[in-house]
């Protein structure tokens, strides 16, 4: 069937901010879909609140709304745009849920808008458990014994029928939020309550536990002609009971015979037909009893999912792109396979390699959160590796995680796991956790049998055996080391085998106590170099035209070298807190620019969720770990004129000096300049030379030194380890006692490592500046004023562009400083500087001569493509030749707000601090600050109330700012309740309020009020440890009951202004193309 001509304008709904369970895979899928539909000549209207995406680039869609993805706002956009169709299956659960909500009103019918890809009936049939269960029964498939409950009484009944342990999940949620395993009635009742809350339809499903069963996924596609193909099979390394997003997964499935695989395939085909997904991709999960092969269906996602992104990268089959084309009427046999060119999309990819995905967790960011994996997803990112064997892929994946491990083995001088006692190891095997794979290794080191490990973990022995092979090999290496037989004395075949097993040079260097580069030299002189193979969807049956490579140690090298100028761009690796989609955005733009300049762009990255790892973004894609060894291997083959390291965040920066040392040209700002900015001493000298202020500071390696410095500077002080990302382990310390505690833990974690101590500027305004420089001229891209005061991590605080409170004089000073620093550092490319302004004085907090997290936000706000310009500058162009001669200004207001994963981590305090914990961001644009900020709140799910009751409890220091805020809320019609001190203070200022008990003051207290849903907004600021822990239950209740809250007084002011603006005016919706005019 040819494409449909009766529709022309199509609305695509994105997935909003990066959150756990919904990361950049939906930028990848959305971007593919937009591009595919635009290519077909459709007018694509896009809505997504996340500015750090490629999909919200003004070129990706015809009309782009960076607006909150709520049913109300999207309805407004529909009314304004009158699209012919909505494609809801590419924006994750958010896109799907929003589309469903809108479809439930009569708007679509009224305006004649059609849902393509999946109808509301199909979505319901797949997502509502009862309907799904019935559908499965209808086609003779079994789902786990289950029942649905809408309240606790029903839940008790269902539990009685199913028995324990049982699994509880909430219907209609993100990534399994509100799910868990209950082993007894008490746990069951707790989980039922959170589940009912988490569910958008107040419904939970309770299921028989399939703990220990094997878990599989199939990616299925169907077209309007009812052709169905399976794109990829995925086998979870971890058994059932762990969310698939938190499982190590492997493609293709490894331990099924054809008979079993085909039975699963038949089931998948029957399911997609029965549910009625007409076009596009679906993900279907199965569980298999390892004892007898019994198969049950777990769930189906009638949309493109995280797994489909993985499957796309694992197979080379672009699921989202094809799904978009199917949605507009094409059939699979009409769409050509880009990779082979001569064949069509109506086939099933076959792999001739093994793919391993490992999730990336950040439990360390959430003190109080237990490192335990359950059916509720906790990981913030993932990495994928491709190898010709499972061992190779697994080792590469571990290297790609960037957690300081270069292999599965004990590559660090003696890894932490080695010191574990057997009962600790067993505990780590029994209770799934982020380190379990290392516990398996430790168990092997202690001589535990595979049978025993299987019994404790229920991880298929097939996988365990490979880990044992790796372990045995390392043991052998250890013996050789003891005998003093280094790699230079080995048989070449053995050296080759070690590399085939995926061992890194770094591991060998550690075992044989030599330098990594020495191992490299031995290897290369023996001719042991990796070869590069293509990912081609067809296992070499047809010629492949897309240069998508992975490394392995084998006979034939398939790299096709060109004679063009070429440049390597290093990507950002797996998403983590502090380094996410923003940097992928930068790498993608850099690649586009190089291509535009006629230079071959080569991307190296290991993150399957990203746009940058799509094979048509660069001229060549290497899906490889971002370590020195892996990068050098590629560079030695490709011989590019240089490498760009400033766009991928900290990952490439960390290795750029060592790459330069190995003789590689780093393009743009030199590693030496980067070092001058990052090294404390150099930096201090630099600022002194330029006569620019910074907060007083010092470095300490022990407690005594730290106290001396702190006393000299004066409390409070900001303390942190040097060279960290995202404010890891950064704290504000108010007194000697707290400093002692901090130093003790810090020294324990990394002994001998210096701790930085800065004077903490209380109540200062923090400023973020993004600028671009060619070494001589510097242009300011944007000066962002943080909403929260200095001391809150810049990645966590909201900000507004342009600044709303700084005087012209201060702004000029900031610009001046920025330009001076850029020139001094000879910055070529992007630079970010954080300033604090206190009492009219500008201090420099930090200079990062690289792309920052805010670059995409600034570019979206201003319409100036900073990365594109920076790439040209890096390649030698002058800013004035590029036409950028003036600092950028605009008249509307853009607010950035951060999205937090607190709902995933019960018992973690939500109070903001110097350690970054947000996973993503949104942007709100409007004519006034209030409306723009209100939009940003709406976009992160803070549903600001227009009336009701506000609870206020603030620390003394914040009280002077309180009357204005409280008065504003009172005038807006809010009732105010407050705890003792705050209440008295408000009464003194004649602001009517009612006093409420603190939790320790007896009941009924504030948490009771929250639980009774008597509170609509919470303003709660605290200062010292005692009050923080005392009020934590209030903030947790706010998260649990989804009540908007602010933990800073500056944030509270912004919220009050937003509410006032919402009461007085109405949101407008406008495309960024219109804004940029």
């Amino acid at each position: 069937m040819p494409k449909r001509k009766d529709i022309n304008k199509i609305l695509i709904i994105g997935s909003g901010p990066i959150i756990i369970g919904q990361a950049c895979e939906f930028d990848y899928s959305g971007t593919q879909a937009c591009k595919a539909l635009m290519e077909e000549g459709y007018e694509v209207v896009l809505v997504n609140s996340n500015p750090a995406t490629i999909m919200t680039d003004p070129e990706t869609a015809a009309r782009t709304y960076i607006e909150p993805i709520t049913p109300e706002i999207v309805a407004k956009i529909i009314e304004r745009e009158r699209p012919h169709a909505i494609l809801p299956t590419l924006g994750g659960q958010t896109g799907l849920n929003t589309a469903v909500k809108i479809a439930e009103t009569e708007l679509l019918e009224k305006l004649g808008v059609e849902m393509i890809g999946a109808s509301i009936q199909v979505i319901r049939k797949a997502e509502e458990r009862e309907q799904f269960r019935d559908a499965m029964r209808h086609i003779g498939l079994r789902v786990p014994k289950n029942g649905i409950a809408k309240d606790i009484d029903q839940a008790r009944e269902v539990a009685k029928r199913i028995g324990y342990p049982l699994i509880i999940r909430a219907s209609f949620t993100l990534g399994g939020a509100g799910s868990g395993v209950a082993y007894n009635q008490v746990e069951m009742e707790d989980l039922v309550k959170t589940g009912l809350d988490a569910s958008m339809i107040s419904e939970i499903i309770m299921e028989e536990s399939l703990l220990g069963w094997k878990e599989y996924e199939l990616e299925v596609m169907r077209d309007l002609k009812d052709n169905v193909v399976i794109i990829c099979s995925i086998e979870n390394f971890d058994p059932m009971g762990i969310h698939t997003g938190d499982s190590i997964t492997v493609a293709p499935a490894q331990t099924l015979t054809d008979r079993e695989y085909q039975a699963m395939r038949d089931a998948a085909v029957a399911i997609i037909r029965e549910i009625g997904v007409e076009t596009g991709g679906s993900n279907i999960q199965f569980a298999i009893n390892p004892e007898n092969g019994e198969m049950v269906v777990i769930e189906m996602n009638p949309r493109v999912s995280r797994s489909s992104a993985l499957a796309s990268k694992a197979t080379g089959f672009p699921i989202a792109k094809i799904a978009a084309k199917l949605a507009v009427g094409y059939s699979l046999d009409e769409i050509s396979n880009d990779i082979t060119r001569e064949t069509f999309a109506s086939f099933e990819p076959t792999l001739d390699y093994c793919v391993v995905k490992i999730p990336r967790w950040t439990f360390e960011k959430f003190p109080g959160a237990e490192d335990m994996l359950t059916t509720s997803m906790k990981s913030v990112g993932e990495t994928m590796a491709i190898g010709r064997t499972f061992k190779e892929a697994l080792q590469k994946a571990i290297r790609s995680l960037e957690i300081g491990k270069f292999c599965l083995g004990s590559d660090t001088p003696r890894s932490r796991e080695s010191g574990l006692k057997i009962h600790e190891i067993e505990k780590g095997l029994i209770n799934p956790n982020s380190e379990r794979i290392f516990h398996i290794y430790a168990a092997l080191e202690q001589g535990m049998t595979l049978e025993r490990i299987y019994k404790l973990t229920r991880i298929d022995p097939w996988f365990l055996f490979h880990i044992r092979q790796i372990h045995d090999m390392e043991k052998q290496l250890g013996h050789l080391a003891q005998k003093g037989l280094g790699p230079d004395k080995w048989d070449i075949e053995f050296l080759k085998k070690v590399k085939e097993y995926g061992f890194s040079d770094m591991l060998l260097a550690n075992i044989f106590d030599v330098d990594e580069l020495a191992i490299r030299r031995i290897r290369i002189s023996n001719g042991i170099k990796p070869v590069y193979k293509l990912v081609d969807t067809c296992a070499a049956e047809f010629e492949a035209y897309t240069p998508y490579y992975y490394s392995t140690y084998e006979q034939e090298n398939e790299i096709c070298f060109s004679q063009k100028r070429k440049v390597v761009i290093l990507g950002g690796g797996p998403n983590r807190i502090g380094q996410g989609i923003e940097f992928d955005y930068c790498c993608v733009h850099a690649s586009f620019t190089l291509k535009e300049m006629g230079i071959e762009s080569i991307i190296i990255n290991s993150n399957p969720e990203t746009v940058s790892t799509d094979y048509d973004i660069s001229d060549k894609l290497y899906f490889e770990p971002l370590t020195r060894e892996d990068v050098l291997n590629i560079v030695e083959q490709e011989k590019p004129e240089g490498i760009i390291t400033q766009f991928g965040g900290q990952t490439p920066l960390n290795i750029s000096a060592s790459l330069e040392e190995a003789g590689i040209t780093i393009l743009g700002t030199s590693p030496d300049s980067i070092n001058r900015a990052e090294d404390r001493d150099h930096f201090q000298c630099l600022l002194k030379k330029l006569d620019i202020k910074q907060p007083e500071n010092g470095i300490a390696v022990d407690k005594k030194e730290a106290i001396l410095i702190a006393e000299k500077i004066g409390y409070p002080v900001l303390v942190r380890p040097s060279f960290v990302l995202g404010g890891r382990a950064m704290e504000i310390v108010y007194d000697k006692e707290d400093l002692e505690v901090y130093m003790e833990t810090a020294v324990k974690v990394s002994p001998g490592k210096p701790i930085l101590i800065d004077r903490f500027l209380e109540d200062a305004t923090e400023i973020d500046v993004d600028a671009i420089s060619d070494g001589e001229d510097t242009i300011i891209g944007g000066i962002m004023e943080h909403i929260e005061e200095a001391g809150i991590h810049s990645g966590d605080s909201a900000c507004v562009l342009p600044s709303i409170s700084l005087s012209r004089k201060i702004l000029e000073q900031i610009k001046g400083h920025t330009k001076t620093i850029a020139r001094e550092l000879n910055v070529k490319g992007l630079m970010n500087i954080q300033y604090a302004v206190k009492e009219g004085i500008v201090y420099v907090l930090e200079v990062n001569p690289r792309a920052s997290r805010t670059v995409p936000f600034v570019s979206k706000a201003t319409g100036v493509p900073l990365v594109k310009l920076a790439t040209k500058v890096i390649m030698g162009k002058r800013l004035k030749d590029l036409g950028l001669v003036q600092d950028v200004t605009h008249s509307y207001i853009c607010c950035k707000e951060s999205a937090f994963p607190f709902a995933r981590f019960p018992n973690v305090d939500t109070i903001l601090g110097p350690e970054m914990r947000s996973t993503g961001e949104v942007m709100g644009i409007d004519s006034s600050f209030g409306l723009a900020f209100a939009k940003s709140q709406l976009a992160v799910g803070q549903k600001l109330p227009l009336s009701g009751t506000v609870f206020i409890s603030v620390k003394d220091k914040d009280k002077k700012a309180l009357p204005d805020i409280a008065a504003m809320l009172h005038d807006s019609g809010f009732k105010i309740v407050a705890t003792g001190g705050t209440s008295a203070f408000l009464s003194d200022h004649r602001i009517p309020n009612r006093q409420v008990n603190k939790v320790r003051q007896g009941r009924p207290h504030i948490v009771d009020m929250i639980k009774n849903r008597e509170i609509d907004l919470i303003i709660n600021t605290t200062s010292n440890k005692k009050t923080i822990s005392e009020s934590c239950s209030i903030r947790r209740a706010a998260v649990a009951f989804d009540i908007p809250y602010s933990t800073t007084i500056a944030g509270a002011r912004a919220v009050s202004m937003a509410i006032k603006s919402m009461i007085e005016g109405e949101f407008g919706v406008k495309t960024i193309q219109e804004y940029h005019g």
Binding site: Q262, T343, E348, D352, T389, A539, A540
Partner: protein, 383 residues
Amino acid sequence: MKALLALADGMVFMGRSFTGRYETAGEVVFNTSMYGYQEILTDPSYCGQMVTMTYPLIGNYGVNNEDVESDRIHIKALLVKEYQEYPSNWRSQGSLADYLRASNIPGIEGIDTRALTGHIRLKGAMKAALSTEDLEPDSLIEKARQSPDMVGSDLVREVTCKEPMLWQDGRFQNSGMDPDQFQWPERHGSWRVAAMDFGVKFNILRCLEKKGCTILLVPACFDSKDIDRLEPDGLFLSNGPGDPAAVTYAINTIRDQIGKRPIFGICLGHQLVGLALGGKTFKLKFGHRGANQPVKDLATGKVEITSQNHGFCLDMESLKDPAVELSHINLNDMAVEGIIHKKTPLFSVQYHPEASPGPHDATYLFDRFIEMMKGYKKLEIRK
């Protein structure tokens, strides 16, 4: 133990034997199925061939007594990237290495199977020699060149049954019987199908039986009169190895049977039908072997993902009879995948509706055969 694979065009690959010492020769072909190595090993159509699996990890789920397509291994050698010595599956009854060893079939790992596949794609399926004893490339290349050619070779003789065998309840009921004494077992509503055995896969028999057929497998050398004597409701022509043009005796039998009763052919059976209808076959460069081959049913426009294993192909141009129509094509290279006769009850497909290994998308073809027999019977009764 080191092993060397030498191709007739001079290309060599190093590997290791995981089954012992061997020296053998045959045609090297690749199969792109990610699952189903046991079915492939036992598929008689691979007779005379060394098979390389493009999926690098082989042996993962061991072997069992159920997933067999004949009574023995037919391949000459199995070439893989990494043999999996620790099988894991609830149905596994032994390791692949032991299985191969028991039949004296070499299993070689450590081969750059992707390079080998790419080479075959460019240069075509070709003769090769494999040895753990002779690691001299030149000598082994010469041995490869000296080995027999696939074109013109009748391998059916090596795999066909010697005497008729009755398939019932999922197995053969006898080890061979006298055709003159044969009586179809009494069974209500069951279709009597004579199946010419050119190297039949068990799953074809299982599929036919599931659809209500009682099958008498007959040797490939059975002539038309032998078949007539059996008075079957339909004639099935099985898959098999080698060059179809070399199986002249079967072509004659089929030519005589056309029009007498419904005929359904698969793979080699399909090629023989084409030859019997006066057409020609040719050798594909590297064939179709895998479980992901898209085939379009021209009658419905629908695409089915099919299991295939063929090195030869029917030339549609050579079929002059206007009553013979193309029914299925391969969407990858537009090769002929099925034909149907408009005047007599006859159809055949190049691919494997019985799958095993592979997707079950095409099982409807067995229904089509049943329908054909049903229609023919009605016609007969009316006559």
